[in-house]
């Protein structure tokens, strides 16, 4: 006969305001096998946990059900408490009467009745909970950081500085990310590259960091502490060891009409190129899609000129397999592209540009050496219109969210423009100015009050060309919806921040969740913002949601601490939620008939076969065997088994059928 204890939590008013907790406790007390049943204001508080522990000891409970929040929230808390009182941690279950009941239903009898049902279901489960023991596994104390922007750089440096190995993978030929393209940064107007490049160099020099640029994650297998990462190093067509970065090849390559990605197409680059002068590593890469040799079989100018013989036309992609214990995903964002803005003439008129192009125009290292010149004729624009929320907060563009950084960088752009073109006029069309952040609102005020940027609250309906100028038709909602027409020389769109190209595929490789905008999902929106639902995989920066630089850096450091904490343990304990094959005494030995359907169903190759032998070594029976080190506990094999000979600990057939019987 079981001795089950039921503990019903009010969670203040969160549960107690909707569910009659006393009634739930009373009804639970009537269930067969329940010997103790109480309700309490906050079960997760210290006194609440003491109630649980005291009851386990005094009533000699052999199973407990805590009816409270989601097990995804407090299961570890209560399991630990149960363990401290001498119960096996896995004989504690939670009935989710908050997220699945009190928060989603109206107050009333039906809701209380549902809470009672949920408790009864868990009581039936816990009665059949076998004591389980965590599995100890070793940890590979190397971290994999995906993405070499500011978030990835920060995470890599922070982890490496705790003394652990880091592998930093960046898909572009150089680390630096979007931040390396920026001119100056808000709210201080300090030069972006000046603060970023020292960090980039530090990454390159750090003895604990292995840097793979021009590389991508091909595959990730395994689980927390024991991932196996396959990294594709794309062929640079350069022997990186032989190349000394002299740059002769990049100056002499005859193919020089390729739009430069780093300068957002505002200048041209060669087919063999270094993305920007401060690139790390400072080694060129051959763009095989545009290289004359790869297109026609002739040229090889770079090979002839290279004094070190570093050109390798026959170099192939290389696959590198490394064991890692944790992954930090910092793959960043992209901005919305041309085809989305026909009303603004973006992609149609050369003088309608996006924010990143403006960054390159304003940057001292940019194609104009920092002079604001419009792309069509190179003249300094006398009137510039900045359009905020180009795509953001616009359901019709499928971006319902705020891109967060645009209010600030638009103010910065207008300010930089006014600093460089003194007599120029700058207008900003905005919906709201969202400048929440340290010194942010002051920065916007400075743009308005000190630099005379004209802010117009309203949307732009159309931009069209007229006599070498752009006519911006909008509305000023603060003047009672007055239509407004501004003749501008340059229009800058603050295009929406979107999830990085390929983020859905990456999420699937990593088995992490993502939201409908393809941003990666954190484990909890408030309390676990840098963790994912997949243990051992952490998030940093704008791959999770639009973020500015200080937030990305802070989040990267947060993710790094999570990795360091994981690596500080001598070994890892895993939940023993694994499949087991039935074994019993002779003459049956096992219900398994050795069909091995389970083996073909297992996504982890965790099942193989073994032969049960008699004492003299004669084979008796061939059965399946689960390797608990590889099993992840999905239970697909259990549902596949025809003889019910394989079962999942913690979610056994007996338990789940009992739960269904209790519905």
């Amino acid at each position: 006969m079981s001795r089950i204890g039921v503990f019903v939590c009010h969670c203040g008013e969160n549960i107690g305001g909707t569910v009659d907790c006393a009634k739930v406790a009373q009804a639970a007390g009537q269930l067969r096998g329940v010997v103790h049943s109480v309700d309490y204001k906050y079960m997760c508080s210290d006194p609440g946990q003491s109630i649980l522990k005291d009851a386990i000891r005094e009533k000699k409970l052999d199973g407990v059900v805590v009816a409270a929040c989601s097990p995804r929230m407090h299961e570890p808390t209560f399991r630990r408490a149960a363990e401290e009182a001498g119960l096996n941690a896995f004989q504690c279950e939670m009935a989710n009467v908050r997220e699945h009941c009190s928060w989603v239903h109206e107050k009333g009898e039906a809701t209380t009745a549902k809470a009672i049902d949920l408790v009864r279901i868990q009581v039936e489960k816990v009665k059949r909970d076998a004591p389980l023991h965590p599995i100890k596994v070793p940890i590979s104390k190397t971290a994999l950081v995906l993405g070499g922007g500011i978030a990835g750089i920060q995470a890599a440096l922070d982890i490496a500085n705790t003394g652990h190995e880091v592998i930093l993978v960046e898909k572009a030929p150089s680390i630096g990310g979007h931040m390396s393209q920026l001119s100056e940064t808000f709210p201080t107007l300090d030069c972006s590259q000046c603060i970023l490049t020292p960090r980039m160099v530090e990454v390159a020099r750090h003895p604990k960091i292995t840097l793979y640029t021009y590389s991508e994650l091909e595959k990730l297998d395994g689980f927390i502490g024991n991932f196996k990462a396959t990294i594709r190093r794309k062929a640079r067509k350069i022997d990186e060891k032989a190349c000394n970065g002299c740059g002769v090849c990049t100056q002499k390559c005859p193919q020089k009409k390729i739009p430069d990605e780093f300068n957002e197409g505002l200048s041209m680059r060669r087919a063999i190129y270094v993305p920007f002068p401060q690139a790390v590593p400072n080694k060129p890469v051959i763009d095989t899609a545009n290289c004359t040799y790869f297109k026609t079989g002739k040229c090889k100018a770079c090979e002839k000129l290279c004094a070190n013989g570093a050109i390798r036309f026959d170099q192939e992609d290389e696959l590198i397999v490394r064991e890692v214990g944790a992954v930090v995903v910092a793959t960043g964002y992209k901005t919305m592209k041309v085809d989305r803005f026909p009303e603004y003439g973006y992609g149609q008129y050369p003088d309608v540009i996006d924010g990143m192009k403006f960054e390159r125009l304003a940057s001292a290292s940019g194609p104009t050496a920092g002079a604001i010149q419009r792309p069509s004729d190179g003249k300094a624009p006398q009137t510039v219109v900045f359009i905020a929320c180009a795509g953001s907060r616009d359901e019709q563009k499928h971006v319902a969210y705020c891109s967060k950084i645009c209010c600030m960088y638009t103010a910065k752009h207008a300010m930089l423009y006014k600093h460089k073109v003194h007599g120029g006029k700058a207008y900003v069309f905005y919906m709201d100015v969202r400048a929440a952040g340290k010194s942010y609102d002051e920065f916007v005020r400075r743009a308005v009050e000190d630099d005379g940027v004209k802010y117009v609250r309203g949307r732009v309906s159309r931009v069209y060309q007229d006599g070498g100028q752009l006519v911006v038709k909008g509305v000023d909602t603060l003047l009672g919806g007055e239509p407004l027409e501004i003749r501008a020389d340059l229009v800058v769109l603050a295009t929406a921040v979107q999830a990085q190209e390929g983020s859905e595929e990456l999420a699937q490789k990593l088995h992490v969740s993502y939201d409908k905008y393809r941003f990666f999902a954190e484990a909890h929106p408030k309390l676990r913002p840098v963790e994912t639902n997949t243990a051992g995989i952490f998030l940093a920066g704008a791959c999770q949601a639009p973020r500015d630089i200080p937030e990305s850096v802070a989040q990267a450091s947060g993710a790094a601490v999570k990795v360091a904490a994981l690596f500080s343990q001598p070994e890892l304990t895993r939940e023993p939620i694994v499949a087991v094959v039935d074994r019993q005494p002779p003459p049956v030995f096992s219900n398994c008939v050795g069909c091995l359907l389970c083996k073909s169903a297992c996504p982890y190759q965790a099942i193989d076969q073994e032969t049960i032998k008699a004492r003299n070594g004669d084979p008796i029976k061939t059965v399946a065997r689960v390797n608990p080190g590889l099993c992840q506990g999905c239970g697909t094999c259990v549902a596949t088994c025809r003889t019910k000979a394989i079962d999942l600990q913690g979610f056994s057939n007996e338990q789940i059928f009992a739960e269904v019987m209790a519905i």
């Binding site: 239903h105 939620i577 239970g635 259990v638 549902a639 269904v660 519905i663």
Partner: protein, 153 residues
């Protein structure tokens, strides 16, 4: 052993829905529904499993046998399975099982197979509301009770 506590306030039929969901997508999605305080009918009872691949379809029959009027099976979207491919196993089993269910005379409209991700809290609420409404229209599932009364179970 267990008595139903399903209230029948005004005598109206309140269907009982059993939901078999995976821990990583739909269970988390339903948690998000709660965190977002989106309301839905209280007719659903969730059974949490590690993965939809764990679902033995005998569980569905057992749910019907024990008085459920409708069943929801929901897991991760194709390609998004936490365990790589469990949801595909579930989908294949469902394809086969649906025909069997139909053959045995259970209205297949009583079973809803869905994908709800961890970020789709609103979708879970819509799903439950829609299934509850559909099963309400189908009326109580009495086939098993009739058999039980005749001594067959």
């Amino acid at each position: 052993m267990t008595a139903t506590t399903e209230p029948q306030p005004s005598g109206a039929f309140e269907p009982k829905i059993a939901a078999f969901v995976c821990n990583w997508c739909t269970y988390a999605g339903a948690d998000l529904t709660g965190t977002s305080r989106i309301k839905y009918p209280s007719n659903v009872r969730v059974v949490r499993l590690p993965c939809t691949g764990r679902i033995d379809f005998m569980l569905l029959l057992k749910a019907f046998a024990r008085g459920s009027d409708g069943v929801i099976v929901s897991g991760c979207h194709p390609n998004d399975c936490h365990y790589t491919s469990g949801n595909y196993h579930a989908r294949r089993r469902w394809m086969v099982f649906r025909d069997l269910l139909d053959f045995t005379g259970i209205d297949t409209r009583r079973v809803t197979f869905a994908w709800v991700s961890a970020a789709e809290g609103a979708k879970w609420a819509e799903l439950v509301a829609q299934v509850t409404e559909q099963v309400r229209e189908l009326g109580p599932h009495t086939d098993y009770q009739a058999l039980a009364a005749a001594g067959v179970e």
